[in-house]
């Protein structure tokens, strides 16, 4: 398993040629939620691989169960990068994705989430689903760290199987928190804006 994880990191680096920039944020083992824009199946893997080694062991990307459990190869990859698989279709009572995430992260793990829900094929980022808000509400101690993934959609766009190994850039921005009395819509808009701000700061 260790070997497979290392191999995945190398493959992710070769495929996406990422460079990582920590902008107003430093690598830290404290519990965090990294939230990023979502354009490619590679996103979760590459963002996880780009973290420093000690953080990687403590960070679990949240990924779609229906995709990552399709076939033994994907399932093996998903376990190797320690993915937390969420069923997007069947949501049970007391077993909502947010509850599952909070239970799974415990007091040690950080998560990588994609609040747009699905992959986005247009240039504009989609609207954020409410999960991030409920996570922030139930665990106000967590740092919510916005991440902007650039060029990932060109490496493996939606609907393609074969990747084109271009270069990509991962920019990690300043953490945000849920403010006192901040409403759901307002918070989600602010969270989405924080990723747009990173994109505008880097280009």
């Amino acid at each position: 398993m260790k070997f497979m994880s290392r191999l995945l990191v190398i493959v992710a680096k070769l495929l996406s040629g990422y460079s990582v920039r920590w902008l107003d944020c430093q690598p830290d083992t404290c519990q965090r939620i990294y939230f990023a824009n979502h354009t490619s199946h590679l996103d979760a893997l590459v963002l996880w691989a780009s973290l420093p080694h000690d953080l990687r062991a403590l960070t679990r990307p949240v990924a779609a169960k229906d995709y990552w459990e399709g076939g033994p190869v994907r399932r093996h990859i998903a376990t190797s990068f320690n993915a937390l698989l969420i069923d997007r279709k069947e949501i049970k009572v007391h077993q909502s994705p947010v509850d599952l995430m909070i239970r799974e992260m415990g007091n040690t793990f950080s998560l990588i989430v994609f609040p747009e829900g699905g992959r986005n094929s247009s240039d504009e980022m989609g609207r954020f689903k409410s999960g991030l808000y409920y996570l922030a509400k139930k665990r106000p101690d967590l740092e919510l760290v916005p991440v902007y993934l650039d060029n990932m959609n060109r490496i493996l766009p939606r609907g393609e199987v074969l990747p084109v190994p271009l270069l990509s850039c991962i920019t990690i921005g300043e953490p945000i928190w849920l403010e006192n009395g901040e409403g759901k819509a307002e918070f989600l808009r602010r969270a989405r804006q924080s990723i747009i701000d990173i994109r505008e700061a880097t280009t």
Binding site: P157, P165, L167, C169
Partner: protein, 345 residues
């Protein structure tokens, strides 16, 4: 059937033969040692400058200098490893450089979703095929695959993907990327296969010719930069494209390169005036390469090809002049060698 075992034997024999060949050639060894010595001194100076904390040194310039030195170490490492292990390895290493350069080029060039398959072809079929053909010495194929067949197939693949927007522009972008990064650069390792049997200089090796070429392109970059700085930027050629490249730098640099090329003729199969002519051609084409790449970077609003964010220069920033000079260097060298063939034979 006979072909495969023969090739396999050749694969193992080649490294030994080429190593002893390079070791026999004293002038090439001497030149490589000199370059290594100069690089060591330059690295030392770079380190010293990096430690300076006062305002007398420009940190950005020192950093750029050190990056360049690191790139030269890498270049010489690739060439020496190639020389020791044989032509096949050199071709593979140049193939990897091409792949990387293409990656940087396409990253900086906006393409559309529907170009994905055409890009996949470019990276994983056309690029490897080009270098395989170079390694197999199929001149007729490696000189036509990209400019003829790829230039027809890529627009076709884009057309099939059912997206008409900016069709010509997209085809041209991918085509130019392949021409500069893959096709042109592949002529550098192709010089290893030139027929030197009738050369003026008897014990010269093809490795010497390749080393000469790479060295001249890099020296030309330095000389053009140096003369431009020395004489000031009085007559900038195209300020919209590159604010630094001046006529003084270009002419001074080209003249110095020609002179140095003539002095180094003993590692090549040429007489001094032939080496000087080749160096002049390399200097002019190297200049054009720098200008074209500057134009692309200016159009895209970036300073380097290296990363999506500002910072390190990429592979393509280092080899732009080499890419442009390689095909013409190959063809002029080939013409000179064939011509002397007629005279002596």
């Amino acid at each position: 059937m006979q072909l495969i075992p023969n090739n396999l034997i050749g694969f193992f024999q080649e490294p030994l033969e080429s190593l002893s060949g390079v070791l026999d050639n004293t002038s090439l060894l001497l030149l490589i040692s000199c370059v290594l010595g100069l690089l060591l001194i330059a690295s030392f100076i770079g380190r010293m400058l990096e430690r300076q904390t006062d305002d007398r040194v420009n940190i950005a310039v020192v950093r750029a200098f050190n990056h360049r030195i690191r790139a030269w170490w890498l270049m010489i490492a690739i060439l020496v490893v190639g020389f020791v292990t044989g032509n096949t390895c050199t071709v593979i290493l140049f193939g990897l450089i091409s792949f990387w350069a293409l990656r940087e080029f396409i990253t900086m060039t906006p393409t559309r979703r529907s170009d994905h398959r055409a890009l996949f072809w470019s990276f994983f079929i056309i690029t490897p095929l080009q270098f395989v053909m170079v390694g197999m010495e199929k001149y007729g194929l490696f000189s036509t695959i990209i400019p003829v067949y790829a230039s027809l197939l890529i627009p076709a693949r884009i057309a099939v993907s059912n997206d008409q927007k900016q069709f010509l522009e997209r085809s041209a972008k991918i085509q130019l990327a392949l021409l500069i990064c893959v096709y042109a650069l592949s002529f550098a390792p192709a010089t290893l296969y030139l027929d030197l049997s009738n050369s003026h200089n008897e014990d010269v090796r093809p490795e010497g010719l390749l080393f000469f070429f790479v060295l001249i392109t890099q020296l030309n970059d330095i000389f053009q930069y140096g003369w431009g700085k020395l004489l000031g930027d009085r007559r900038v050629i195209a300020p919209n494209i590159n604010a630094r490249r001046s006529w003084e730098g270009f002419i001074g640099g080209a003249a110095t390169t020609t002179l140095v090329g003539a002095l180094l003729h003993s590692v090549t199969p040429f007489e001094y005036w032939q080496a000087a002519l080749l160096s002049l051609v390399v200097a002019i084409m190297g200049f054009f390469g720098g200008m074209v790449m500057s134009a692309i970077k200016r159009d895209r609003g970036v300073s380097d090809f290296g990363t999506l964010v500002q910072g390190h220069a990429g592979v393509l920033d280092r080899i732009d002049s080499m890419c442009f000079a390689a095909p013409i260097f190959y063809h002029v060298a080939k013409a000179i060698l064939e011509h002397s063939d007629k005279v002596t034979g």
